[in-house]
Symmetry: C2
Subunit: 291 residues, 2 copies
């Protein structure tokens, strides 16, 4: 694969897909974006690839899980709860190898390649959006887990008080992701809460402070277990910037193993929405490289 | 190193050290045990090695942290809070290479080599004794973290109610390790609580049930983050056997990501106190082998 000079990277989301030509230095040469409907998703991806002129390799990230053993994808916001053989379908349509991984894996690989965590060996990317999930690089390697679902940290248990939401989406996600923020503030979306807090609204600020406490607590658990050099925070909720970031750092230090807490920094994404896209390109271009 | 047929493995504890000759198939040929005093620890280890007749390589596990970057050991129950250049001192005394790691790393490597988790790629060993700590193998590799202190899971944050103990030993350890068990039962040691529960004492049984809830909750966090095939439980507290094991399994399933929860089994150590010793031998005999 050493002759690959560029790949097409695709970031498949619940409502839209982004695709780009990315070279082996990580430069984006051309890009396209289109809405996704739940019909022929493989065909829509192939159309985006065709629009970009094709490539020797394709890297695709999905909002869910890629099961390497079976080659199937589970992405409820795209396909409902059925697993789909998306890689096989795409390779049949396109005739080139397709490397698939989860969006959180793509994001941590992207940030470690070209973003906030460039060159580090131990990095966690935490996506705080509608859901909560982590991509983990430890000792220079992407962790996948035995069944390719490592990083499902939205299920972290942080509170013993019973709540039926914990069984639906996980305890940490039910406390700290976008929908919880909106609900606590009585506003229609987390974006609205962030905007209100940024204009000084006291209740919205208190909701974000409470959110930062939950985020810091769960991040502390990742720090104690994995002793990373950096935790990179991305996802829509992190638009709140320092309103969340500073209190998250303080709360993390309250809980984490003290030496590990001193060794880690917590930073916002540098690549934003392109983190996953660039990670997908890296995984396609350098499949055998430890990141 | 391919010509190494046996190593001397040493398990350094706070009050005693165990040493054994272990061959490359994991058979223990001879062993010795002696008390440790805080004076000349390297000399005491060298004496044990001499008693066993020497070896081409030595594997040593310590009750604390081994910092690979500096070669120093932090093991408060042996050396107080000072870091010691134990590897350098031993190599000067013995003239052979010494491979050092933490006891929890040794235990997970031992169980994966010869014990409950034989041949698995994703395994966590959780030691539940006076303290609480984990050794982690993910994707066939031992996780060390950026500063060699990965697995400090006794610091898991599981409860928001403030308690000064959390800042001393970590939240999870303050809830679920031996001293917490003894304190809740009003007995002098966790061993006494386990014995009382095994003879049917209702209060001791309730204390263990509460302990199992905390253990299951923290184990769930490891399962959600790392998606292991097996969690192996060791340490003195696990002498309680099924009194803890079954309720731990139930509680884990209450919290962990559901797919990951179905993919994992929770088992007791098969190697008991030899897990770390055998892991130390494996690390010395096969330093470059992914476990």
């Amino acid at each position: 694969m050493a002759d690959l000079t560029h790949a097409i990277a695709i970031d498949l989301g619940g409502t839209k897909l982004s695709a780009a030509i990315v070279d082996s230095a990580g430069c984006i040469h051309e890009r396209t974006k289109r809405p996704v409907d739940r019909g022929d998703v493989a065909g829509q991806i192939a159309a985006a690839v065709g629009e970009l002129g094709g490539a020797g390799a394709i890297g695709l990230i999905v909002p869910g899980i890629y099961f390497a053993a079976t080659g199937s994808v589970w992405a409820p916001n795209v396909f409902g709860h059925e697993e789909k053989p998306l890689g096989r379908d795409l390779e049949a349509l396109l005739g080139v190898p397709v490397t698939i991984d989860s969006d959180r894996a793509g994001s941590v690989v992207g940030e470690q390649w070209l973003g906030a965590a460039r060159g580090l060996t131990d990095v966690i990317f935490l996506a705080v959006g509608t859901g909560l999930g982590a991509g983990i690089i430890s000792g220079g390697r992407l962790l996948r887990g035995a069944g390719d679902i490592a990083g499902a940290v939205g299920w972290f248990a942080l509170d013993r008080a019973p709540d039926p939401a914990y069984k639906q989406i996980g305890c940490w996600e039910s406390k700290a992701a976008g929908p919880a923020i909106a609900r606590r503030a009585g506003l229609p979306s987390a974006e609205r809460v962030v905007a209100a807090a940024q204009s000084g609204d006291a209740r919205a600020k208190e909701v974000l402070a409470e959110t930062a406490r939950w985020l810091g607590m769960g991040i502390a658990n990742l720090v104690s277990a994995l002793n990373p050099q950096m935790v990179v925070l991305g996802g829509g909720v992190m638009q709140a910037g320092d309103l969340l970031l500073d209190p998250i750092r303080r709360e993390m230090r309250e809980w984490a193993q003290p030496i590990a807490a001193r060794q880690v920094t917590i930073e916002r994404t540098q690549l934003g929405e392109d983190a996953g896209l660039l990670g997908a390109a890296r995984l396609a271009l350098f499949p055998d490289l430890a990141v």
